[in-house]
Symmetry: C2
Subunit: 282 residues, 2 copies
């Protein structure tokens, strides 16, 4: 049993709280039964796993997951053997105020090439300069639910593998292809690879006269969502060049919407159009 | 100049950080130039106002607002005279880590009766058991942008006048009619007063077969948004009785959406239908 918060394993996990640590170790921290299950379901196995029975509580689910991990370790060897840790040690490893009794380390899921399987009916999301971790996680999770097929992130976005983004993303990191630290030029190329014409690249702009629901989302398309306070950054502007500006018509005194909300409204309109075309919906 | 964090005025402002203090004083705290401007624009004047020039910085906007408040104080007497406070004193009064140099106290906007002016084309939002302050503020702000005409909150919601909700709401408290601590029975009556038939009361439910865009949002309607983790509470269930369940069709492994996101998707579909009917949109 790992007792001390200064144990080397605990220190290594703490290092994953920082962007630098994650970049050096090429790993990220995942906390809680549900999120770790999401990883396992998607075919990823933890490289380190710590548990504490008292914190874990009497949930069947947590114990079942531990059994699965132990079995995988014994059978295939590609999953770490879960190690028991004291409450103090686990709390030190955890990024949350109230650790759930199970933390795991997964390898970063590093994608560099846009894969052909994503090309049918592409709906790409470009995150430009999104800096709030909660917002980023919520946006990614929402994008998946709306049927987004790949996500590109400019270098000035928050690190998507930070514990807060991972928490807010609720497993999306394991399921949705994320391309991180991508320059505007790379993303332009990626979108072309996905068969998205530049005229099907959309960005919201306050003064735009075309409402978001007046464009055709049935063909391969991309949406750029940017920082609510500052609008498009340099990379975002480059990608938006040659694309089209759209607006979300708003009532009342609100001047803008939160980035994740704006993304949700537009991406679910795309989903609605695609569903209606298939014969469902209104 | 107020120097000390233990000055009685500072203590009174600090008391407004808590729900108990707000309830006793019937006041709430608003921070920052923009949010206080929103109050003034909507016809409300601060009962206490503190500023610090160093924290306020060299913005024209902040100084212009101070002048407006002083002029109103001298002319009509219904606005407090802004008082200078030390950085330490202002930081103590503030709920934020980085106070903006201007804090004000406004009277709670207490509404008990649903007013007839809201009855045309009603789109009511019922918040049931929404407990996260950031989520609540974002939901309110989104509701206003989507054209919601009144908001009802069950007693188990977070206090909407808490500083975090006020911050995330970005002025919405001054503009959107909010009915707080409302029981299910009261809300049922309120919705009837607004001309909303019980069959036009919608709640999301995971298993529902009717997608949110397959219902008619053109007639007076209400949407119940509930706690993402726990679903409808007792009050929410009572209101939803006799209403209809709708779903947001989702792709991928996501099981649910954040409450504010789900609200945004549905309320903007209502807005879209209403706009399209008026001849705009697609």
């Amino acid at each position: 049993m790992i007792e001390s918060p200064s144990n080397p394993t605990i220190k290594a996990l703490r290092a994953l709280h920082t962007s630098k640590g994650r970049r050096e170790q090429r790993q990220f921290l995942v906390e809680g039964v549900r999120a770790i299950e999401d990883g396992v379901k998607a075919g990823y196995w933890p490289q380190v796993c710590l548990y504490n029975y008292d914190l874990l509580g009497r949930t069947e689910r947590g114990r079942a997951l531990l059994k699965t991990l132990i079995a995988q370790h014994q059978r295939a060897g590609n999953s770490a053997l879960p190690l028991e840790a004291s409450e103090r040690a686990l709390a030190a490893a955890s990024d949350t105020q109230q650790p759930q009794g199970l933390v795991a380390v997964f390898p970063l899921i590093e994608r560099t090439e846009v894969t052909p399987s994503e090309q049918s009916a592409s709906l790409a999301l470009v995150c430009d300069d999104i800096q709030d971790p909660g917002n980023m996680g919520t946006l990614l999770r929402t994008a998946e639910a709306a049927g987004v097929t790949s996500v590109f992130l400019t270098p000035n976005c928050v690190d998507v593998y930070s514990p807060k983004v991972v928490r807010a993303g609720m497993g999306v990191h394991f399921r949705l292809p994320l391309y991180v630290e991508r320059t505007g030029a790379q993303i332009e190329r990626d979108l072309r690879t996905l068969g998205i014409e530049s005229t099907q690249v959309f960005a919201t702009e306050a003064g735009a006269t075309t409402p978001y629901d007046a464009v055709d989302w049935l063909v391969p398309s991309a949406l750029i969502v940017s920082n609510e306070a500052h609008g498009l950054g340099a990379e975002g502007k480059r990608i938006a060049q040659g694309g089209r500006s759209i607006s979300i018509p708003m009532s009342g005194g609100t001047e803008s919407l939160n980035a994740a909300i704006a993304g949700a409204v537009i991406l679910f309109e795309a989903a609605r159009q695609r569903r209606v075309r298939q014969g469902g919906g209104s």
